[in-house]
Subunit: 117 residues, 2 copies
Amino acid sequence: MPTALPLLPRESDDAACGRPAPAAALSDTDATDLARALKALADPTRLRLLSIVAASPDGEACVCDLTEPVGLSQPTVSHHLKVLTEAGFLIRSKRGTWAYFRVVPGAVDRIAALLPR
Amino acid sequence: MPTALPLLPRESDDAACGRPAPAAALSDTDATDLARALKALADPTRLRLLSIVAASPDGEACVCDLTEPVGLSQPTVSHHLKVLTEAGFLIRSKRGTWAYFRVVPGAVDRIAALLPR
DNA sequence: CGCCTATATCGATGTTTGTCAATATCGATT
DNA sequence: AATCGATATTGACAAACATCGATATAGGCG
């Protein structure tokens, strides 16, 4: 071990003019929460689903619209949509037999803003 | 398994004045690549490691400095650092017996910029 | 050389995860 | 009520993953 290295969230210099900007280290619970949200995003199918819903003309899409583009079974798509919804990235509204999904505005951005830099 | 998959990126309206901004859906390979990068981030331990390195006074930290803060065994920490390095978020430089890790500038931001909104 | 220290790799293990087929639920329509 | 169509849930299974102990590698130092 080179030096002592206390390793606690530091904020000794508030306006240091160096480039990388010294942010404080994530707390244990913050890291856990962030990881949980990122896990919901860290799947190619879910990213595609999210982007398809985001790119939909009316801002929403139903399961029947999403099954074919991703090329997976209906239960699997339903499962992924549930994961994204429970993580707060989508909202579900059922109209008749169909379930429509919309992107929660700003949800992804809020998570992205928490990433260490 | 990846079937035909039409789903072409749409760009019907380039400057629609609605609010949510209509971005094109992610391609299959883009989604896979993004998911791979996000998987590297989507772990509480790796997020903590990354943030600790980022918050380190000299912008770098060695494994011996990182083992204790995250409370895991040395092989486990070494493994997580390898994952982060192979994903392009950290760079490793060995000096003597020690391996120092630095954050790759802008790497996280580039990934964050690819997220669907 | 021989030892110590720091890090990486290996092998094993328990857990999580993505997927599907089968089935259940629930609304609409006849 | 009987049925159909869209979606959700369940159960099962294989693959991926996080973790550890043991071991290997390799640099520094006596």
